[in-house]
């Protein structure tokens, strides 16, 4: 069928966008050079020309992809239709490569981009893990090593943010019974701006790289190669996506719920998504600000973080961590919400303490705003700030403990089954426990002075990221796979994926913690063989490759199941959530023809005669057609 419809590639938004970005960047560079000439400066100076040019390129990408089209029409006073139909001259898959206002399409766009970036960041890790497998330098030089660790960090962060975008964009409207997001155009814009942003971040590798790691501390970042500026600009642009996406989620949740769905009857994931969005909406501005200040310090010689010019480097760390610590709660909260969402389905029991879980997400988000300086115990900040930040950090353990208590309570005496999504959910609980328990030693000032900047920290945050994002994300992908594609994934390959990734992760993370305690520093390409870390490093590298292989198995599984998987029923997990009551594939406007009303509690699994939602009579009639 695809052969019949000839695809004009120039009609695909993605292709047009990239062409526009390249042309726009070149034109932008020309404009900057022209302005420089008019100001009486020499035309060529790599930094301002590249930064100005590529910034123009980001805007022209968005024009090329069509993200501004409707807004331009509004500005001209023209009306646009509420919904856009897909271009009928293109085959079905093409809609994923162009602008679409359908939140389900955008959710899948986010998801695929997330997995691609995840693979890219994982590949970076494999390269430098190979280097680290033995002491001495073997394959890559120090500059490349530094660029790779920095890129591994930031591309992973982008992948996580995209994955969260995937889960919340796809699921939140479906779970609350909305036809779409509150602002569909803003939603599409927030997705597409990631593409030029990601291209910029990766382009840094070819423009001299950067040697600061993902945290980009000045004064080093103020004098790193040109790649640093591309890194800043790319993250700046991706941050905008985070802000606008968060805004959309909050407004959608407040304004678009189905009749009867009050706040404490929403599926629990929605609470997590909103808590995340509160952080994303506000704190993200601070990383934008801190990066913008370094960019301008480099461009115009502004002395924000230059002690010889009235600045202070510690200010950068305050601004940076005011976002970047809450950001780690952005990364984990949706995952923790996912655990709470899936456990009751597979334990066939009510979620233990719904309100406590819902409010603990909010509590983590709010407490998260007051803990940032625990990253700075060794940074030379004011000493009196240490102890207050130690206590505020410890406070985070309380709402997190509430979640663990509820998960155990939910599982307790449940009728548990173990398909792949449930395995990943349980794996997430176990690994997040490891990540959580290794946190307080870092929050305690006395122990942190020893642990700071060691592999212990690396092990700790990889455990939180795997437990808080990677495992729940894969659980979600397997769980909603039948709803997204209409087909079942391959259970055998799914189990292989889990049973490779789970033990390998423990080897990797515990290995990192062990050598960290013994004194292995972060972010160095080589280590002294006399430290006897060679064997541990080799094990960590092997474990890393096993994790990488397990993700390859996942990709094979997706590829095969999308094409030839068994046809799945509309509700294979016997879930109570509204999206599973819809036919597969989900109609373009979700519940427009399937209105429902919430009449009971969401998680009363196993309770005789309890119902969550009641489809209206009109909906049943149309479903029968």
């Amino acid at each position: 069928m695809d052969e019949k419809k000839k695809v004009n590639f120039l009609k695909l938004g993605l292709v047009r966008g990239i062409i526009f970005q390249v042309v726009g960047s070149i034109v932008g560079m020309g404009i900057v050079m022209l302005i420089r000439l008019l100001m009486g400066l020499p035309a060529w100076n790599a930094e301002p020309v590249w930064v100005g040019g590529t910034f123009v390129g980001v805007i022209t990408f968005l024009i090329g992809v069509g993200a501004f089209s409707d807004w331009f029409k509004w500005a001209k006073g023209e009306k646009t239709s509420d919904h856009h139909e897909a271009d009928p001259s293109l085959p079905g898959w093409a809609k994923y490569y162009s602008i679409s206002l359908d939140h389900k399409v955008i959710g899948i766009q986010y998801g695929v981009t997330s997995i691609l970036t995840l693979g890219l960041a994982g590949t970076f890790a494999m390269i430098f893990r190979t280097e680290l497998a033995a002491s001495k330098l073997q394959y890559i030089d120090l500059g490349t090593f530094n660029s790779l660790i920095g890129l591994h960090g930031i591309v992973m962060i982008a992948a996580i943010l995209l994955g969260i975008g995937a889960m919340s964009n796809y699921l939140v409207p479906l779970m609350i019974g909305a036809s779409d997001m509150a602002f569909p155009r803003l939603n599409a814009f927030a997705y597409w701006i990631n593409v030029p942003g990601a291209l910029l971040v990766v382009s840094s590798l070819f423009l001299g790289g950067f040697d600061t790691g993902w945290t980009a501390y000045p004064p080093l970042s103020a004098r790193a190669p040109l790649g640093m500026q591309m890194f800043f600009l790319g993250v700046y642009v991706i941050g905008l996506s985070s802000i606008l996406g968060s805004l959309n989620i909050i407004v959608t949740t407040i304004r678009m719920r189905a009749p009867g769905m009050n706040y404490f009857r929403m599926p629990i994931f929605v609470w997590a998504a909103v808590a995340t969005s509160i952080i994303g909406l506000t704190a993200t501005q601070f990383i934008a600000l801190s990066f913008q200040m370094v960019m301008f310090q480099r461009l115009l010689g502004m002395g924000f973080f230059d002690p010889t010019n009235g600045g202070n480097v510690v200010l950068f760390q305050h601004l940076f961590w005011f976002y970047s610590h809450p950001a780690v709660y952005v990364f984990i909260l949706p995952g923790l919400g996912m655990i709470s969402e899936l456990l009751p389905v597979f334990a066939r029991k009510p979620l233990f303490g719904y309100k406590w879980i819902a409010l603990s997400s909010m509590a983590i988000a709010l407490v998260g705003f007051f803990v940032w300086a625990h990253h700075m115990f060794t940074a030379g900040m004011e000493e009196y700030l240490r102890v207050p930040f130690m206590y505020s950090t410890m406070l985070v353990a309380v709402p997190t403990g509430v979640k663990f208590f509820s998960w155990v309570g939910t599982l307790w005496r449940g009728k548990i089954s173990f398909p792949t999504p449930m395995l990943f959910t349980l794996g997430a609980v176990s690994i997040f426990l490891l990540g959580g328990l290794t946190g307080p030693p870092n929050a305690t000032v006395a122990t942190d002075l020893h642990l700071h900047d060691t592999y212990w920290i690396v092990g700790h945050f990889h455990a939180t990221m795997f437990g808080g994002f990677i495992f729940p994300f894969f659980a979600a992908l397997y769980y909603w796979f039948p709803k997204m594609t209409g087909r079942m994934y391959n259970e055998k390959l799914g189990k292989w994926h889990f049973w490779l990734m789970y033990p390998a992760f423990y080897v990797q993370s515990l290995g990192q913690m062990r050598i960290g305690l013994l004194g292995m520093r972060r972010r160095i390409a080589d280590y002294d063989p006399a430290l006897n870390f060679d064997f541990s490093h080799l094990l960590i590298t092997i474990a890393g490759f096993v994790i990488f292989a397990s993700v390859v198995i996942f990709l094979v599984n997706v590829w095969m199941s999308v094409k030839r998987g068994e046809k799945a029923g509309t509700n294979p997990w016997n879930s109570r959530s509204p999206e599973w009551q819809l036919p597969t594939p989900i109609p373009e406007h979700n519940y427009a023809d399937h209105p429902f009303e919430v009449v009971g509690e969401p998680y009363d699994y196993g309770l005789e005669g309890s119902t969550y939602i009641k489809m209206s009579a009109a909906s049943k009639a149309s479903a029968a057609d």
């Binding site: 805004l247 601070f286 934008a288 115009l300 502004m302 924000f304 305050h318 601004l319």
Partner: protein, 192 residues
């Protein structure tokens, strides 16, 4: 009952409420950016301030505050269906906004005895006024769009979300300046 609720969702009134919430959240987010700069100003400069032309500062501040008055007048006029007052108010706001921009970027930036590379006060003065001026510029563009569409009589007393959004955004820019003006011109002792 269910269907009637859904019908209301597509009504202009319901969408207006949704749009308002979205705009206010956007402003909240933006406020964090400006707050971050304000914090940086006190962190680096404490109770000192850059050497600036007080008369000019007072003039541009007055211009911006007066523009907010005309913005409000324009919006209220539109809500009452008074097309003429609305257009006049929008145009005056627009002109005052441009005067503010010229005053800050065209005059103050040239008069200031320091550049962006001169110490913390130089960096912060240019970054704070620059980011604020950038927002004023976007507000002016917004005003141009509203004025143009207003002349085409696209707004009515019942449906004028564009005007309302523009006015809210303009007042927000004004409020930011109410914090920035004392932070740059009034608080602390003069250095540089």
């Amino acid at each position: 009952m269910a269907t009637s609720t859904l019908d209301n969702r597509t009504s202009y009134k319901y969408k207006l409420g949704t749009n308002r919430l979205g705009l206010w959240l956007f402003l909240l987010s933006d406020a964090f950016f400006f707050a971050g700069l304000l914090i940086s100003r006190f962190y680096l400069m404490g109770f000192t301030r850059p050497h600036l032309d007080q008369t000019l500062g007072l003039i541009v501040t007055s211009v911006l505050l007066i523009s907010s008055f005309y913005m409000n007048r324009a919006e209220t006029a539109m809500a009452h269906g008074d097309q003429k007052t609305f257009l006049r108010g929008t145009l005056i706001t627009l002109v005052l906004g441009v005067i503010f921009l010229v005053g800050v970027v065209g005059v103050e930036w040239q008069l200031a005895p320091f550049g962006p590379g001169d110490g913390a006060h130089g960096a912060l003065f240019y970054m704070m006024t620059g980011m604020h001026a950038f927002h004023v510029l976007t507000g002016v563009i917004f005003l141009v769009i509203v004025y143009r569409n207003g002349r085409k009589e696209l707004y009515t007393a019942e449906k004028h979300w564009g005007v309302e959004a523009c006015a809210t955004y303009w007042h927000f820019i004004d409020v930011v300046w109410i914090f920035y003006y004392p932070a740059l011109y009034l608080i602390g002792t003069v250095v540089g």
